[in-house]
Structures are given as structure tokens and as C-alpha cells.
């Protein structure tokens, strides 16, 4: 067991974890932050995406012990009170159906828009589709997800 200290959604967290504990497990089982979902076992589906130090990361392929000292944000901590513009856009554009892939989609979407804004690049539909390569949705056919991310980009 290793002691890890990190900040999760703005709160300091200290826990003993075994070396093989994945961050996704740690968030779901130890911290009971069940908004981070697990949809595959080969790191393809992206339902588990969280932010580590502001960058989108698949928490199912990250060891909890490796995030010692990091600042982790999950879907539960994305907004303070009000909805984050990305969350609001997903609702506005019907960018979700069953909701299972949604937390990962939103976290990936936020990261993408942040990067594009920082680099001064336009968030085109093509760019959104390309950037969401690592997030699978089986319900929406992506149409409304792409629209939601583009709309959120104008509000972030």
C-alpha cells in the first residue's frame, strides 16, 4: 500500500492505495465519485475521462499512485454550483441519451476547447469529430454532441 495525496475537485484527499489501483477505481470505489464511468477494458471508450492538472486523461489507464500530488477534476467537480457551459450545451443540444458516455464526453470536450482556445484555433465540426476519437457514444450518433461542443466553445 502506498499513501497518496491529491486534490480532487478542490478538496485535499489522502488515502492508502495498493500499487495496482487504477485512478478510475480509486475515484469510484474509494471516493465514491461514481460519475466517472468504466465502459471498456482496453482504454478505447473514454467514459472514464477526468482532468489531471487540467488535462484530459483516461482514468482507467492511470494508476492512482501515479497521481500523487496532482489536481484531479471529475465530472462532479467541473462546475461550482451552476452548470459549466459544456454541461449546459449538452443539455441544450440533446447531446446525451443514456448518459453513460456523457461525463467522459464533457471532460474531453472541455479539454479540447481549452486547448484550441489557448492555441487560437477554430473549433470546427471536423476538429471536434477528430478530437473525440477516444470517446465512444452508442446512442446519439454524435450529431448533437458535435453541435454541443461547438456551441460550448462560443461560451467558454
Amino acid at each position: 500500500m502506498t499513501k497518496v495525496k491529491m486534490t480532487v475537485n478542490g478538496k485535499a484527499v489522502t488515502r492508502e492505495v495498493s500499487g495496482e489501483t487504477l485512478l478510475s477505481e480509486f475515484l469510484r470505489e474509494d471516493l465514491r465519485l461514481t460519475g466517472t464511468h468504466i465502459g471498456c477494458d482496453t482504454s478505447q471508450c473514454g467514459a472514464c475521462v477526468v482532468h489531471i492538472d487540467g488535462k484530459a486523461v483516461k482514468s482507467c489507464t492511470t494508476l492512482a499512485a501515479a497521481t500523487d500530488g496532482a489536481e484531479v477534476t471529475t465530472i462532479e467537480g467541473l462546475a461550482n454550483g451552476d452548470l459549466h457551459p459544456m454541461q449546459a450545451a449538452f443539455k441544450e443540444h440533446h447531446g446525451l441519451q443514456c448518459g453513460f458516455c456523457t461525463p467522459g464526453m464533457i471532460m474531453s470536450g472541455v479539454d479540447m476547447v481549452n486547448r484550441y482556445k489557448a492555441e487560437g484555433r477554430e473549433v470546427t465540426a471536423e476538429a471536434v469529430r477528430h478530437e473525440l476519437e477516444g470517446n465512444i457514444c452508442r446512442c446519439t450518433g454524435y450529431h448533437n454532441i458535435v453541435k454541443a461542443v461547438q456551441d460550448a466553445a462560443t461560451k467558454m
Binding site: E20, H37, C40, E76, R129
Partner: protein, 789 residues
Amino acid sequence: MANGATGIGARVKRKEDKRFITGKGKYTDDVRMENQAYAAFVRSPHAHANVKSIDKSAALAMEGVVDVLDGHQLTGDGIGNIICGWAVASKDGSPMNMGAWSALATQKVRYVGDAVAVVIADTQALARIAAEAVEVEYEELPAVVKADKALTKSAPEIHDNAPGNLIYNWEIGDAAKADAGLAAAKHITEMEITNNRVSPNPMEPRSAVATYDEAEEHYTLYTTSQNPHVARLVLSAFYNVAPEHKLRVIAPDVGGGFGAKIYIYPEEITCLWASMKTNRSVKWTSDRSEAFITDAHGRDHISTAKMGFDENGKITGFKVDTIANLGAYMSLFSSSVPTYLYATLLSGQYDIQNLHANVRAVYTNTVPVDAYRGAGRPEACYLIERMMETAAREMGMKPAELRARNFVREFPHETPVIMTYDSGDFDANLAQAEEAADVAGFPARQAEAAKRGKLRGLGYSCYIEACGIAPSAAVGGLGAGVGLWESAEVRVNPVGTIEILTGSHSHGQGHETTFAQIVAERFDLPLDNVAIVHGDTDKVQFGMGTYGSRSGAVGMSAIVKAMDKVEAKVRKIAAHQLEASEDDIVIEGGEVKVAGTDKALGWHEIGLAAYTAHNLPPEMEPGLKESAFYDPSNFTFPAGCYICEVEVDPDTGTTEVVQFTASDDFGTIINPMIVEGQVHGGLAQGIGQAMMEQVIYDDDGQLITGSYMDYTMPRAADLPFYSVHHASTVCPGNPLGMKGCGEAGAIGSPPAVINAITDAIGNNNLSMPATPQNVWNALQAVTASQAAE
């Protein structure tokens, strides 16, 4: 009573979204019980083998292992075999050959993934490690994976009671008439058509948490189900887990279903039974690899078809012979999919007088196959629409013209395959789609693409499907083991808010919004005053769940029936208290009024009056809560026209869907935003099946597409924005005039895609999935045949 902002036809944003976008949804794997243990299954790595022995000693010796249980213990405790609930008889009258399926195999395993034992341990990791330590000795047997091969003499027999692996040999229609029709034809189109095996892949893997209360002898099961009441019924009546009043099934938030979560699988049964055996809550959550070898697969048909036409392009006869692969065991509705959900739709949108279909269903050493989004109807649609497009090309006609010459235009229309189409305007859908897709401008786009070295093609699909699957008496006559009605309860609380309890289940369809919309409209109340309750057998009296696009046409109709009763009582109470005639009462703006006067009661005052019961009409019972069961009079028949446009890179075979246009007739639409979302998702799954998805087994029965590294599903970059339109006719069969929209996209799209690609490459001989390799090979065949000429 128009309620423009939130009523029928309004694009209301979903009430359920907030919990999902903030990570507060509650799915089965999010449930954690006190004293919870975890299950891991020991599964066969062989496709076909005798189980010689199971050595549990090493696993049992591990610290933290609660127990290791096997099939002999399970059957010893009287747990029944898993059954198929729809009896389909062969044409000679003999019953279907249903092989025994125990939740844990005792003698023989029949597919890779067949479970032989379960380990219950304190943690999930430990359960999985201990499952590795269970030593099973197998005696391998030869395996068969392809449906046509399963029927050959040399194929190994999978179930003792299914000689030659044949489950049934079934037919519908009139063979002699079809033959005569073909004999009289001027032109005959003949094709071999396969419908590829796919895996549904809802993003949430299946999960179950079972708890046994020893004192009450009562079980609670949280599970990823599309139909918790059906699960309870089957678990009680057939699997003998517990009587219904001792079993509560809860399907909380469910992350997609697409058919895969209709059935009651070995894992749920085992978890319930294990919770009793170990006196612990038992949780099992599938990982994706396990989902590929346990979730029922879909499709997998091999067909030959002949369609004859007269000199005017009118269909004279149509004959189909299909072999359907049902996998190693018969799953819950498996028998109905290639028969009553498939062959009954083979008339398509066309007036075909002479039609015959023969269907043989077979066992193979593969995962059981059952309904997947569309269930039988996509297979029918793909077959007819590939035939129509190919026939048009062979006869030198425009594909749209050939279809239009054969459209059904008078309703009701009885087909030779027992369906009675009740409504539709196929010309309207075709015209709308052609205009929206700018078919007229296609030659210019094709020429422009050619300049860029791309082959551009356009393909049609005019689909019709049957939803609702009813009435119960009719489907009972066809062999269904259940009734296919729906139930609802409308509870007006003393403060006037309303709860709707429904047997439908929402796992992405947005019922919490659309069901509330019809109530808000009816009683002219704010949407926020209405809550939908579903997914818990202790809360909702009964239900048949959500599949077959039935929640609107059947589930909502039950709510309407219950609302009729509530309204009748409200009128009586208001008339009594306001001293008016019931006929003069109007419900409007949150009030119950006497027309033409200023006499009114607030809706909340009516609610309160019903429960205080201080001043009710004589003989009236207190309370304001009504329930109803709705059993439709017929199937509903959504239909439409889809047009796909593709560009193929001839050097690589890579195909891009550049435009996809849909014109659907869903009858009345409650919330266009949600309906469009359903179409988008269905189209994505249909395009996925057409272009990339395929479950592949090797000849030994090993599944070699068992992860997202190998089984390709559409990503965002693989798909276009869709152009979705509606040209509706009202369904005469239910009070709201609804037809259903959940499956249309997946049903109608595959033939449109393949028709477009075959148009682009000039070769009709192309099978799904149209991977770059398959398309490239088809292109090379064209080049080779041109060189030979």
C-alpha cells in the same frame, strides 16, 4: 388545452439531463450494498467441450474467497433452465427444439464464454484472481460457427434434442403462388444476401447486485434491464429463484440497451441464487471483454432471394430462403426474431401478392443471438431494399421509379405475410427525401467528385417496420409467452402534483420528459409538476418494458387511458363542488372551471378535495389515482425513405458517407428533439453495421473480435451530420396516433449505405460490412471483369 411550450410537439429539453451531465446518474454499478461481495465467473475457453471435472480447492483456500459455486449446486437447488419465451413451430407442426440451458453449465459447454462456476469473494480483484485458480478439465469437441455449416451432415451436434442443429424449419406465405408469380415474370432478380453478426454494445456494461434478506426470505436485484417486470416474472415463473412477491427488481439508470438488456442472463440468476447461498449481497459487473462473449449478439442471417417483375416493373412473385444463426442456446425472444419480426415484413412498402419465405433457425457454437435494435426488421428491410435497387439497375430503371410503381397506396393493406398496414404515405416520404437530398443535383456532385478522383454513389432505402408487437391475443396465437400490453398509473397528489408510474423503461429515450409532456398538455399544468416513476417492481404495478419501439405507442397509450379515468373523476368532483354540469367543466391553465363563468377550482384544490373527502359526490371513493392497462389493436407501422450518398476512394476502398437524408413517418411526434436524437442514434448503428461492425469467430469458435481494439464501432469522425425530416400520417390504432421511432434508423439505413456504395463502384455484389478491404475487392472484381470483356 394547447400547451405550446411544453405540450405535444414541443422541443422540450430533457428533465433527466441534469443528473447525467453532473455525474449524478445512478447506474447499477454505482450501487453498493452493506456486506457486499463480488462474483467472478469461470468461463469456458472452448467453443464446444464436455466438462470432465471442476477443482475448486485452490480457489476455496484463498483468503477472502467466500465460496465457489457450480452448476450441480445450482440445479440441485431447483434453479430452472433459461428458456425462450416464444414458441415457434416448424411447418410440419413439430415444436421448436429448445436445448437445455443452465445458468452454470454442468455437463457440456457450447460456446466460448459459457459459464461453469462462479467465485464469490470479498473484492472484485480477488474474485477474478480466484476464478483463475478454479481448474476445469474439458474434453474438447469439434465446433461449428457458421449457420449454413451447422446444417451439414458433418457438423457436430450441439444439443441432443436438436438433430442436425435445426431448431425449426418454418414458413410463411404461399409457396405455390410465389412460384407461379416467378414463373410468369419477365425479369427475375436473384441474390444471396448475408446480414452480418453484430454486437449491440450499450456503453454501460451489464451489471447485477443481488441481496437476500434471510428473515423475510426476500430478494432484491438491481440490474441493467430494459424490462424489470419481465425479469421478475421470468426469474420467478421459470427459473424458480423466488416467487414474485418475494422478489423486487430495480433497473435504475441504465446506460443504453438496444435489445441486449431485454433478456435475463445467467449472471443475474446466479447472483440472486449466490446471495442466498452466501448470505451476502453479490455484485457482478461485466467488463467489455466479458460483454462481447455474454451479451446476446444480433442479426446473422444467410438468405437467398428471388424476385420477379412484369414488363411494367410490377412485382409478380417473391421467394426467400433464410438460415438464421441463433447461437448456442435459445435466448428469451430469439425464436421470434427471424420469423414474426422478420418474414412478416418481407412485403416492404410494396404490394406483393405472391410471397413466400422459409426460415431455418440453427444452433452454432457461438454466443446466443437475439433481438438487437430493429430485430428481424433490419434483416427484412436490407433484403428487400437490396433486391429492389439491384432489380432496378438490372432492368435499367430508376430505383425510385421501380419502388413507386409497387408502393402500397390504399390502407388498410393486407400483405400475404399476415401484416395489416394501417396507414402511411410512402410517396410523400420518397418525395420529401429526394428533395431534401437534392437528388436532382446528384449528377453534378458525382461529376465534381470524379474530378477529385472519387467515386460518388447514391442509394435508397424505403423501409417499413412493425412496432408495438400487439395485440396480446394475436401474438399469443403466434406463440408469444407473454402479453404485450402496457400498464400505467396516474397519481394526482393532494397538493396537485402528478406522478406517472409506467411499466415502460427509459434507458436513454427521455421518457421522464416526453411522458410528462403528454400529462402536462392534457391537464395544462407546468411540466415540473409531473414526475415519471419507472424501473422498480415495488413501485410500479406491472409493465412489459421498453423494446420494439413500443414505449410511445403502447406505454404512452396506457397513460392516456389512465388520464381519461382521472379526468372523468376530476370533472365529477368539480361539477359537484361548483354546482355545474360535468359537460360544462373545462380544464385549463392549472384550473378546473365552469365554462363561461368565473367559477373555478385550482388543480391543487381538486387534488386536496379528493383526499380530504369532505365534500365529494355521493358514493364516490376518496382519492385521485387511476391505473390502466392498454392492449393495442394492431402493430404500428413506421415507414420512411432514406437516401445515402457516399464517396469511395478507388485506390484504397475507403468510403465516406458524405450525406445522409431521412424522411420518416412516425405518426404523432411528442418531442421532435428527442425523436431526431433517436433517428441519429439508429442511423449511426445502421451505418456502423453497413460499414464496419462484424463479430468474427474463427473456425474453432474462438471470438476474435472481443474488444474495442478489434470490433469497430463508429467514432464521431466516421459519421456525417444527418438531415432528418418527417412526413407523418396519423396512426389510427392508438389514442395519440403514434407509431414509434426508436429503431427506424437502424432498420432503414444499412441498405441505403450499401446501395450507395454499389452504385459508386458499379458492382452489386458487396456484403456488409463495407470495409475498405471489401470495397476494394469489389472494385477489383469490376476491373477484372472489364479486362476480361
